[in-house]
């Protein structure tokens, strides 16, 4: 499925410049390079429109960077090498999946710490509450009413009949 999506995205991306310029561009030459370029740049953030991936962005810088990624792919660089190339210039910010390191610990583990704290708080609260709550005693009429409701026999005063 993912493979198909990537292929579809690659096809779309290939079609775009063709639609614009009406002339073949060299990047259509090698679909393998193109697919890898798209796969890599989907993992990277465009610095100009920060909520878009490098693969999706139409910003000029994104175009330049895609060209750069394409060149690196052709040179036979591995994915981590290509990402490192961009990180060394633009910082971890270009990665949609930031690396786990001391400065990002809060980012990675913060939510779990907060969740853990909330769970501990909830358990403590429930325990304290359990000691205080007394089950209400039901009178005979209450029980009869409950039974009537459960068996589906509406009492004559139920709102349903009035409606």
């Amino acid at each position: 499925m993912k493979q198909r999506l990537i292929t579809a995205a690659a096809a779309l991306l290939l079609a775009l410049p063709l639609a614009h310029a009406g002339e073949a561009t060299p990047m259509a030459e090698d679909p393998v390079v193109e697919a890898r370029m798209v796969a890599i740049s989907e993992e990277l953030r465009c610095l100009v429109c920060q909520n878009e991936s490098l693969a999706a962005s139409h910003a000029e810088l994104a175009e330049d960077l895609r060209r750069e990624v394409r060149t690196l792919v052709r040179e036979g660089k591995t994915d981590p090498e290509i990402k490192e190339y961009l990180v060394s210039r633009y910082g971890d910010f270009v990665l949609y999946r930031p690396p786990v390191k001391p400065t990002t610990w809060f980012l990675w583990f913060g939510p779990f710490v907060i969740l853990g704290g909330a769970v501990i708080g909830l358990i403590a609260y429930l325990r304290r509450r359990a000691g205080k709550v007394v089950a209400p005693a039901l009178s005979a009429t209450d029980k009869a009413a409950a039974k009537a409701l459960l068996t589906g026999q509406d009492s004559p005063n139920s709102p349903k009949d009035q409606a």
Binding site: L47, E60, D64, G91
Partner: protein
């Protein structure tokens, strides 16, 4: 009363976080290049066709590398400050003219003849400098933006303060403001000038 203290405390923490977040500019991405040697390049100078400049030529000096282009609106806003600063002397400013023709969003370089781009680049860049003043000791032409990528340029203008050993010590993203100049760039440049 006491039972409200914890939610109130949590709320205040949240407010502080959000307030800090609101006051930060998401477009200011800290550069990993600060503290690293300025990437080498060899580019043709604006005024002297055929002659090149590279950062190594500035070894032993504290200098500024300012990325600009004539199509860049913020550069125009920043420019008077640079011109005034250059008149005071002290810190030489080298201009990196970034994608002068390709970056304007109008010219399709593919339709230009091979030697046309550099001619246009020189024309536009020189024209802009003669209209608005030239604060640069020299400018170099980065027509395809490759050197820009090596410097992590993602918006023009950007300015790098480079020390005597060729290490980037500060990066200003966006136009230099009078405050940034007085409070950050000048004091740091002064300190760096005293380093051997």
């Amino acid at each position: 009363m006491k039972r409200f203290l914890i939610p109130l405390g949590l709320f205040l923490v949240l407010v502080v976080f959000l307030a800090v977040g609101l006051n930060r500019d998401p477009h200011e991405v800290p550069s990993p290049l600060v503290g690293k040697p300025a990437p080498e390049f060899k580019l043709e100078k604006l005024g002297e066709p055929g002659k090149t400049f590279s950062p190594a030529d500035m070894r032993g000096q504290v200098w500024l590398l300012n990325v600009w282009a004539s199509w860049c609106v913020s550069c125009r806003a920043e420019h008077p400050l640079l011109v005034a600063f250059a008149k005071q002397g002290g810190v030489p400013i080298v201009g990196l003219n970034y994608k002068e023709v390709r970056g304007d969003g109008e010219t399709d370089v593919k339709k230009l003849a091979a030697d046309q781009e550099i001619v246009l680049t020189r024309q536009r860049a020189a024209g802009w400098l003669s209209r608005h003043g030239n604060p640069y000791t020299l400018s170099v032409l980065d027509m395809d933006g490759r050197v820009g990528i090596d410097y992590g340029v993602y918006g023009v203008p950007e300015t790098y303060l480079i020390d005597k050993k060729g290490v980037i010590r500060f990066k200003q993203i966006g136009p230099i403001t009078p405050e940034a100049l007085q409070q950050k760039i000048l004091p740091l440049a002064k300190k760096l000038a005293e380093e051997s």
